[in-house]
């Protein structure tokens, strides 16, 4: 809602047309009527359904020109929705360190160094020694952990909102590898067992209890151990307990036939045991080859049975429905002590793995955890049809260059819009459109390619929506000259500028007997340059309170024109063309090409007067 309105252009990628991309509607379902039920391929289809830029769906298919790529082989626009992506590099946006893809699997999608975001304001957190006076001028970079000059406990502090990890009771011993340290700390500073430690602990317990130990008898624990473990039963622990339990149950339920029973591997045969050296798996593999059919049948006929989890070690947790503590805390802490929705959204479920059950969310500000930075990726993009790479960034994190980048802007004409201010026009601010008052706009099409193109425009006479404005394109068909050699451009530059200045003069200062009449006329090009052409569009905005004053939705006062652009040009035939479009004629050395798409021109806001 910025007051100075800048006209804009959005382009609808042809892929959102249901018939072109791989989104066939199943013909037999009556329920999927939202798709075009007729998959006719002729181009008139688009004309029959004029594009409505106000429809909520069109928000998903419109892109600014800068977002679009172009496949040179298919001669088609490719939008972010219709490219196949491949990942070049994973990196942390904070420390800019590259992360190998194997780490991603094991350690998740966040930076595991010392890069954290503030849970309150998502600003970057920095490591500071608690002893020193935190000097705002000397805040070390998040990854520059050695910069903390003082010893003693360290904290994370936000330089933007001054949140510090002491607010949730977390301090660190070392200034580096904060992520690992944080994983072992609960809010409030209590230690927390990691999955590995827990496993070792359990093993120790099992050994200390000797052979009498069995998972089914949780009461076999010494009581203080049980308490400790119970406290520790967070989401992650319960998950792993449950997983173990089910694995053992499945292993019991399907003992895999008697053949494998002979091997005396002590591993108990859980699913995780896939060591190819173990005799169990060897015999399993042999089994697969020797006795497949009978084995299968036998196993299939046996309905597996498994019991339910009985105690904590198997993942059962009796719910504690007593939330009076939290209620009392809510009363004590008030609105300010609770977290806002946006803060909650940043606290993804993963961060709370180590916490006791919170049903996936925290409620109080004291339950917030620092957010490790999400990793990012550099991606190369391919055309999904012909698999050619259309965008490929440099693999290095620090470079912003691209090896290959076929942006649509260098293949399809750009459209710029400016209001036409005629000398006799009295409106001081031409961008404010007045209801029922004709307004004229100059559309400038600039041809980026080295061939002359022919452009055909089409608009509905009335814009769709509740307030139909009249639209007239004065010159719907024209040719643009080729984007000739750079040197030509450089040489002609002065000339052109002079010319342009002239025409600007003529546009503002009345007709000085130049090459144009400079009155917008039907069928006439307004201006023409080396590789650009301007035409005039006339609109008569609708009154926004036509039958009666109505409640306007957001942007409903915006005058947007849907425009169908069709570009035709001829190129040299280049042998094996993958996506050769219509009009391919083998006799001619020139190949006719065509590109057509809908775009939306945002002209201005209709004033409500």
């Amino acid at each position: 809602m910025a007051p100075p309105f800048t006209p804009y252009t959005f382009i609808q990628c042809p892929c959102s047309d249901s018939s072109t991309f791989n989104r066939r509607s199943p013909p037999s379902t009556p329920t999927t009527h939202h798709f075009h039920s007729d998959n006719d391929d002729n181009d008139d289809d688009d004309d029959e359904h004029p594009f409505d830029p106000r429809a909520p769906r069109s928000n998903y298919s419109l892109f600014p020109l800068e977002y679009l790529l172009y496949c040179e082989d298919c001669h088609q626009i490719r939008c972010p929705r219709c490219v196949a992506e491949e990942i070049v590099t994973y990196y942390c946006p904070s420390c800019l360190f590259e992360v190998p893809s194997s780490n991603l699997k094991s350690e998740g999608n966040r930076c595991t160094r010392s890069c954290f975001q503030c849970p309150v304001c998502i600003g970057p957190l920095s490591v500071t020694s608690l002893e020193s006076h935190p000097d705002p001028n000397l805040i070390p970079a998040p990854d520059n952990t050695s910069a903390a000059p003082h010893g003693g406990p360290y904290i994370l502090i936000c330089s933007h909102c001054a949140w510090s990890s002491t607010e949730v009771g977390i301090q660190f011993d070392k200034p580096n590898s904060i992520h690992a340290q944080l994983a072992k700390l609960r809010n409030g500073g209590n230690p927390r067992m990691t999955a590995k430690e827990r496993k070792e602990r359990r093993k120790d317990l099992a050994q200390s209890l000797g052979s009498s130990y069995s998972a089914a008898s949780g009461s076999g624990y010494p009581s203080h151990f049980a308490d400790e473990l119970d406290l520790d039963l967070d989401l992650e622990t319960q998950f792993s307990n449950l997983k173990l339990f089910y694995q053992s149950q499945l292993a019991n339920a399907n003992p895999g036939g008697g053949a494998s029973g002979g091997s005396a591997s002590g591993s108990g045969g859980a699913f995780g045991d896939l060591g190819f050296t173990s005799p169990t798996s060897l015999s399993r593999i042999l089994n697969i080859y020797t006795s497949t059919s009978s084995q299968d049948k036998k196993a299939k006929s046996r309905i597996g049975t498994m019991r339910e989890a009985l105690d904590r070690d198997e993942g059962l947790k009796i719910a504690n429905l007593d939330e009076s503590e939290a209620i009392a805390k809510l009363h004590a802490e008030d609105h300010a002590g609770t977290v806002s929705t946006s803060q909650l959204l940043n606290q993804t479920p993963q961060l709370h793995l180590g916490e006791p059950h919170l049903h996936g969310r925290s409620r109080f500000a004291s339950e917030l955890r620092p957010i490790p930075y999400l990793l990012r990726t550099k991606r190369s993009k391919r055309c999904p049809i012909c698999r050619h790479i259309i965008s490929k960034p440099e693999a290095k994190v620090l470079t912003t260059r691209f090896r290959i980048r076929l942006v649509a802007g260098s293949y399809i004409p750009s459209i710029t819009i400016r209001p036409l201010s005629l000398p006799n026009a009295s409106t001081p601010d031409p961008s404010a459109l007045r209801p029922s008052k004709p307004a004229q706009f100059v559309l400038t099409f600039k041809n980026p390619i080295f061939e002359p193109v022919k452009i055909t425009l089409a608009t509905p006479a009335l814009t769709p929506g509740r307030f139909p404005s009249k639209v007239t394109v004065l010159c719907p068909q024209f040719d643009i000259d080729a984007n000739t050699d750079v040197w030509d451009e450089a040489l002609k530059d002065g000339d052109k500028r002079r010319k342009k200045g002239e025409s600007m003069d003529s546009a503002t200062g009345g007709n000085n007997g130049g090459q144009h009449q400079h009155q917008p006329a039907a069928g006439k090009i307004w201006e023409r340059g080396r590789n650009w052409v301007s035409i005039v569009v006339e609109v008569v905005p609708a009154s926004l309170r036509k039958p009666m004053p109505v409640v306007l939705k957001e942007d409903e006062d915006l005058l947007e024109i849907p425009m169908f652009v069709r570009i035709e040009w001829e190129t040299d035939a280049m042998g094996d063309e993958v996506g050769a479009v219509l009009g391919k004629d083998r006799d001619l050395p020139k190949l006719k090409r065509e590109l057509a798409y809908w775009c939306v021109l945002g002209l201005g806001r209709v004033s409500d007067q």
């Binding site: 089914a216 319960q238 998950f239 792993s240 449950l242 053992s248 003992p255 993804t348």
Partner: protein, 586 residues
């Protein structure tokens, strides 16, 4: 979770070995627990097909697990304990690409105009179950963009086709399901999509085979009885998060200062005018809504024969704490009013929206329609309609889930209300004054008879009082005395020497790790889903090609039982008949 070999792309072979071996936990702890019951044995492996080489096991591409909700998507990899990211739906997500106005400092969303009609909050939902005026294409677009965002931002994956498992509400109508599958197959090219139901996943996530899942969702609250990993009954009520947020709005609007009130707020039941923005109401609901403890939970003694849980002691404390403490004032800053105001309301009042939404004790139980039953009645009714054995299993495995389970005290309150009903009525479907009178009459008759007998002195007093005592809450005891049907699975377990759970017939709540995480376990263990849809078949046949669940019943049974070990359909039979399971029934 079908691991068909055809989709192996082969490029990730080396990577995935580590992935499979990574839960070595199974070797350690699991071995200890299972070794006592069975000898060392090789686990059954999901054999994809007779022709597939077993080496295909190693090259398992990770499965993406998506939980669909009305308000958000949870996305992650199967086998993880928690989803990697959550995507919430909202108006900001529906903007055009390159529209950055939300970041402009002088931008204020014009919610007031956008909220005209019943649009208030509609932009924050993915779908509504009423599909009559729903743009299904738009739903598809929303799903696609949300998934694309999630894949790019949280999963950091490329756009190679991947297998997908969806936790998708089991009551979802076919048009919506079909849009979802279209997006997954069309845009993301998934070779197969498996469908998992949230209640079953929740039960798995709690480690139980039967459960009563109370899903306090956004659009509605769904109470589902799960028995042996099967949904056996499902009751719904529109009392969910949306209603709670609307009640919060109503509540806040009522307490606005006079000058900001709408003049005609008196007709508040039907008022479509909103004075506060949706975000604000939701935020206040999330932050401050809480629920009072059941008023009589501390005073009444637990009835005999219905032992009321260990939670009972705590509920006494709970009741005491909010009352003894002086309930303070809550400050609620409101920004979407003009001008912004700060309300100061006592905390006790803040329970009002919750009270009205979920319990609505102002009205008599008879005045509710089937679709708007208060939650405690809904749960009670669901249990009541279950067969006795199923009920006894389910009632001691109550799982609370869903967004509104976060409302402080709500779970406890529902639980207490339920115990209260059971204490008062037992499992008697008939209620009312007439019945009470009848009971009294019976009682009187009994006493008379007793008196007569006593005066006659023919029988000992003990023998007569016994049946009388039994009949006082006769229905309950009768039900409990019915000889339970033989449970084949339980029998088998006994035969195997596994300890079986004796926990039944008592109200008990268990904690689940959530539908997503439960489904993650299911997927990780390669247990076949009821409904696994192949891309080719879907694109050829669409939803109409699915067989009815009944037609593939025998297979379904095998697949649904967790023990089946994930057998895929055979190459011959399965290729032509596939099912959407429970999803195809609506």
């Amino acid at each position: 979770m079908s691991s068909s070999a055809s989709m192996l792309t082969g490029s990730a072979v080396h990577r995935s070995v580590a992935n499979i071996r990574s839960p070595p936990a199974g070797g350690g702890g699991g071995g200890a627990s299972s070794s006592q019951s069975s000898g060392p044995s090789t686990p059954m492996r999901p054999i994809t097909s007779t022709f597939a080489s077993p080496s295909s096991l190693r090259a398992e591409e990770e499965t993406i697990l998506i939980e669909f909700g009305t308000r958000k998507l949870l996305v992650g990899f199967a086998g993880d304990a928690a989803p990697r990211g959550a995507i919430w739906f909202g108006p900001e997500q529906q903007r055009r690409v390159g529209d950055f106005r939300a970041w402009q400092s002088d931008y204020h969303p014009d919610w007031r105009n956008a909220a005209s009609g019943d649009q208030w909050g509609k932009d924050y939902e993915l779908w509504r179950s009423d599909v009559r005026d729903l743009d299904l294409g738009l739903v598809g677009d929303k799903i696609e963009r949300a998934l694309r965002d999630a894949f790019t931002k949280y999963l950091l994956i490329d756009s190679r086709p991947r297998r997908v498992a969806c936790v998708i509400p089991s009551g979802l109508s076919i048009p919506l399901l079909s849009v979802t599958l279209d997006s997954l197959f069309g845009r993301f090219q998934s070779p197969t999509v498996s469908l998992l139901s949230p209640p079953v996943s929740l039960a798995v996530g709690a480690g139980v085979r039967s459960a009563l899942v109370i899903n306090l969702g956004w659009a509605e609250t769904v109470v589902t009885a799960v028995y042996e990993f099967r949904e056996v009954q499902c009751n719904r009520s529109i009392r969910g998060g949306r209603m709670l947020t609307e009640q919060t709005h109503r509540f806040l609007a009522k307490h606005l200062p006079q000058n900001q009130k709408k003049p005609e707020t008196e007709d508040h039941e039907n008022s479509q005018e909103y004075v506060l923005s949706f975000e604000e109401c939701e935020e206040i609901t999330m932050r401050l809504a809480w629920c009072k403890a059941h008023p009589s939970s501390a005073t009444t003694k637990p009835a005999e024969g219905l032992s009321t849980v260990e939670e009972h002691d705590e509920s006494e404390e709970r009741r005491a704490s909010p009352e003894t403490e002086q309930p303070g004032l809550a400050t609620i800053p409101l920004k979407s009013t003009s001008p912004p105001v700060t309300l100061e309301l006592p905390y006790d009042l803040l329970t009002e929206p919750c009270e009205n939404t979920f319990f609505d004790s102002r009205h008599s139980p008879a005045s509710f329609d089937d679709h708007e039953l208060p939650l405690h009645l809904l749960v009670y009714r669901c249990l009541l309609q279950l067969p006795v054995d199923v009920r006894s299993m389910c009632m001691s495995r109550i799982i609370f889930a869903g967004g509104c389970a976060n409302v402080l005290g709500l779970q406890g309150r529902i639980f207490d209300e339920l115990s209260q009903i059971l204490r008062e009525r037992g499992w008697d479907p008939v209620t009312g004054k007439g019945l009470d009178k009848k009971r009294e009459d019976l009682e009187q008759m009994k006493q008379k008879a007793r008196a007569r007998l006593a005066s006659g002195g023919t029988t000992g007093p003990t023998s007569t009082t016994q049946p009388g005592a039994g009949e006082q809450d006769g229905v309950w005891h009768d039900a409990a005395n019915v000889k339970p049907e033989v449970d084949p699975i339980e029998e088998q377990l006994k035969k195997r020497g596994d300890p079986t759970s004796q926990e039944q017939g008592e109200l008990r709540a268990v904690e689940s790790i959530g539908a997503w995480s439960g489904a993650s376990i299911i997927s990780h263990l390669k247990i076949a889903a009821v409904a696994t849809v192949d891309r080719d078949l879907w694109q050829q046949q669409g939803a109409a090609g699915a067989s009815k669940p009944g037609e593939v019943d025998s297979k379904m049974q095998q697949r649904q039982s967790l023990g089946a070990g994930g057998f895929m359909r055979g190459a011959g039979t399965g290729h032509n008949s596939w099912t959407l399971g429970t999803w195809g029934a609506y």
